[in-house]
């Protein structure tokens, strides 16, 4: 089930909120767990058992790791649990990638498994690993399997993150506050996230689809696509994160931030401190630092960076372009570490343009079907290969999406947030903002609903008679 769907908004969410707040405190996690299982089963009825098995295994291993912590056995259980979690991920997500490449190298014809990828498996596998490792490092294991299952399966962050670490919400699972203030904050965050997804990301995605289907590519169209996709992926992903964080707040949880205006970064290093923060910090804490992190020789450090970024790319998808995408950032980060960072600090304009340009190129690689298409799209940006400068279609869509792009560009910076902060500094401004906020949110919800309902607009093919 998607947050940006009528089923979620008008069936699932009202029922879940009602049951949650009407149930006594001791049953709240149970309500959350059951609703999360329904949420997951709605899209993946068969795989709900896979997730349940992982949870039961994780729970058992968690208890074992805690019992034998500090001993060799504890380490064995920790490694075994990680291996089991990863084996599920490898089987469902990467098996066909490995078979395809093995076949290509050896000339063999091993048949592909063609298994359907369980939704959210990358997210909940990583949460499971963080749970086990945190216990190994000293965190107390969860004794109540309902609480443990609620942590792994919690629907707000189940399918698109953020990756919530057990150590961050262990206490909240047992004891959390519900207040009007926190719920109102959650509602605002959820509605804004939904608006980012439905009103901006979906429309920018539509523009990207038009570009992909067009036979009239031009340099202008390639740039328009690159810009639109860069904004689309940001609003899509950060919109989902906002919704997750907002829903978490409604249910009394405090999830960590996942995005912090990454496009205002002045270096790629800073960009990755602001983009998909939960994934970046997960790799830092569970891969990069255990590998030695920065406290090793330069050569080894660069090797660690390459490994982490190759894995980061691979985590996003089982295809070469994702690996190249990760390595692309690894190279940029190494160049920055060696010499570029100090020069970037000297020119604000250059540093921002540099980040925007390379982020855009990276997302072209990210969104390509394969590396061939990625190269062709990058060449198109520079008019290589006889691509015309402008086409009628490019101009039309530039005009048609102009306002959306401008709104998205402004929305990708903290400008609006800063204005709101300034206005609310004054007591009159704060009063006005507080008064209008509920109604602005209501209007946004109505417009979002209109876009979701219109998504079903599906003229009969024979309408021409």
């Amino acid at each position: 089930m998607l947050f940006s769907s009528i089923t979620f908004l008008y069936y699932f969410l009202p029922l879940t909120i009602a049951f949650y707040f009407l149930s006594p405190k001791r049953l709240k996690n149970m309500v959350l767990l059951l609703s999360s299982l329904i949420f997951y089963a709605w899209g993946e009825p068969k795989y709900v058992f896979l997730m349940a098995s992982l949870i039961v295994l994780g729970y058992g291993f968690g208890r074992l790791v805690e019992t034998y912590r500090g001993k060799k056995t504890g380490q064995v259980f920790c490694i075994l649990s990680i291996m089991i979690s990863l084996s599920f991920l490898v089987y469902f997500k990467y098996a066909d990638f490995f078979i395809t490449n093995f076949n290509a190298i050896t000339g063999l014809g091993i048949p592909l498994l063609k298994v359907v990828l369980p939704i959210g498996i990358s997210f909940y596998t990583f949460q499971m690993i963080s749970y086990i490792v945190d216990i190994y490092r000293g965190e107390e294991a969860q004794k109540n399997i309902i609480n443990m299952a609620a942590y792994i399966a919690m629907f707000p962050q189940l399918i698109a993150g953020p990756i919530v670490r057990y150590s961050d919400i262990a206490k909240q699972l047992e004891e959390r506050k519900h207040s009007w203030d926190r719920a109102a904050e959650g509602i605002r965050r959820f509605v804004i996230g939904l608006a980012k997804k439905v009103l901006l990301a979906n429309q920018l995605g539509e523009l990207c689809n038009v570009f992909r289907g067009s036979d009239e590519k031009s340099v202008l169209f390639y740039w328009l696509y690159a810009l639109a996709f860069g904004l689309h992926i940001y609003f899509d992903f950060s919109g989902y994160s906002d919704m997750a964080i907002g829903l978490g707040k409604i249910f009394g949880f405090q999830f960590l931030e996942n995005f912090n205006y990454p496009y205002i970064s002045a270096s790629i290093t800073e960009f990755w401190r602001r983009w998909h923060i939960s994934l970046g910090s997960w790799f830092r804490d569970y891969v990069y630092i255990p590998l030695g992190g920065n406290r090793v020789k330069k050569g080894r450090q660069f090797f660690n960076i390459l490994v982490v970024w190759m894995l980061t790319g691979f985590w996003h998808g089982a295809a070469w372009n994702f690996i190249v995408w990760g390595l692309f950032f690894a190279v940029l980060l190494m160049i920055e570490k060696v010499w570029l960072l100090k020069y970037l600090k000297e020119s604000k304009i250059f540093s921002h343009l540099y980040v925007l340009f390379f982020a855009m190129i990276s997302f072209i690689i990210f969104n390509a079907q394969d590396m061939g298409q990625a190269f062709s799209d990058i060449k198109g940006l520079f008019g290589i290969g006889g691509v015309p400068l402008v086409s009628a279609q490019a101009l039309y869509y530039l005009y048609s999406f102009f306002v959306i792009i401008v709104v998205a560009m402004v929305g990708a910076t903290p400008a609006i947030q800063n204005i709101i902060k300034k206005v609310s500094c004054k007591s009159v401004g704060e009063k006005i903002l507080n008064r209008i906020e509920p109604f602005v949110l209501l209007v946004l919800l109505l417009v979002i609903t209109a876009y979701l309902v219109d998504g079903s607009f599906n003229p009969f093919l024979y309408f021409r008679f």
Partner: protein
């Protein structure tokens, strides 16, 4: 105020849920001219396969309370807040609603020509005079001024002419302008295409009677684009042409084997009032003109535009057979039509030719 936000949100969700569950559901969408999804059957097998969930998603959106009003809100937001050039490929210019028909789809043209060539090779001989004419869609006359995407219509005509070299091409584009089309519908207005009918007749070697009367219906006509645009716009008025030949002609519906009227007034109050012209989407219709001065027959391969022009052509023929190969397989035609010595006209709009997957 935080409390108000929470209460407002809770009331909004609760009201939305109750309306979704308890409000009676529409079963048909007039604007899209399609049946809306119905509640899927709750069976273990359906749930296990995920089919129930997928179908429920469609059902929930299709039957959402006040769906038409929400579609209007979306159209207004897209047009007046985001200033998008079109909404779902539909735009309004100078009071006319049109679809962005773009780009020229050569594969589709080839497919259409292949179907027409099949008919030519299977049924026609040197004794048949074969003609082709292409009706430009409304976008042809609106797009340039309103800066919307527009196909190269000259290239379109040229390509059809070249690909169908077995047919003599009759150009009608220069006789048409935007006012010859309904503001809210895809089709041309019958009362404004008399000159087009005369051009076709003249090029096909026949003459039409000039005895016409134009009648205006009192009902408002909301065309197919009206529903798609989902914007509050003025309706059209529907007019139709009568004349001696038209009035005395008898019409036979070969699909349902029954006699019908040239103008079906019951359809005026129906879902698509344009269906009043020769009763709408029928695969085979024959117009017989008992007052014809010579035994000249025309077989008209057509889309819906043909329904309103065929009555204007009947005074020049003893019989016109309209064939819509979107609803009948061309290989069955010999069972119903005698092609001997008939003139054959392929009269199609750019809308169908550019989206020819509907042709059988």
């Amino acid at each position: 105020m935080k409390k108000i936000t929470c209460i407002l949100f809770a009331v909004f969700l609760a009201a939305g849920f109750l309306l979704c569950v308890f409000l009676p559901k529409a079963q048909y969408s007039d604007s899209e001219r399609r049946k809306l999804a119905s509640m899927p059957t709750l069976q273990a097998q359906n749930i296990w396969s995920g089919r129930f969930m997928t179908d429920f998603e469609t059902y929930a959106v299709d039957t959402f309370p006040f769906r038409t009003s929400f579609r209007t809100l979306k159209a207004v937001t897209a047009n007046h807040v985001f200033f998008k050039r079109d909404n779902n490929g539909i735009y309004v210019s100078d009071g006319f609603i049109s679809a962005v028909e773009y780009p020229l789809n050569e594969d589709s043209l080839n497919r259409a020509v292949k179907r027409f060539q099949y008919i030519y090779e299977k049924y026609l001989t040197k004794n048949n005079k074969v003609y082709l004419s292409v009706i430009p869609d409304k976008n042809c006359f609106l797009a340039k001024d309103s800066r919307h995407l527009s196909m190269d219509y000259k290239k379109f005509e040229q390509q059809m002419k070249q690909k169908m070299d077995f047919a003599q091409y009759i150009s009608i584009a220069e006789l048409l302008e935007k006012d010859d089309y309904y503001k809210t519908d895809t089709h041309w207005r019958q009362e404004r295409i008399i000159d087009v009918a005369e051009r076709l007749a003249q090029k096909m070697g026949t003459a039409l009677s000039s005895d016409y009367k134009i009648h205006t219906l009192t009902q408002d006509f909301y065309g197919v684009y009206y529903g798609q645009a989902a914007l509050p716009l003025e309706p059209d008025s529907l007019q139709y042409v009568t004349g001696d030949a038209i009035d005395t002609c008898y019409v036979y519906d070969g699909q349902n084997n029954k006699e019908i009227t040239m103008y079906d007034m019951e359809k005026v109050a129906g879902r698509d009032p344009y269906e009043m012209f020769l009763s709408g989407s029928l695969s085979l219709v024959t117009l017989n003109n008992p007052k014809a001065q010579e035994d000249k027959k025309l077989i008209l391969f057509r889309d819906s535009f043909g329904s309103s022009i065929a009555p204007l052509l009947i005074s020049g023929y003893s019989q016109i057979t309209l064939v819509d190969i979107r609803y009948i397989q061309p290989n069955y035609l010999a069972q119903f039509i005698n092609f001997d010595n008939c003139d054959v006209l392929f009269l199609y709009s750019t809308l169908v030719l550019n989206n020819s997957e509907t042709l059988k």
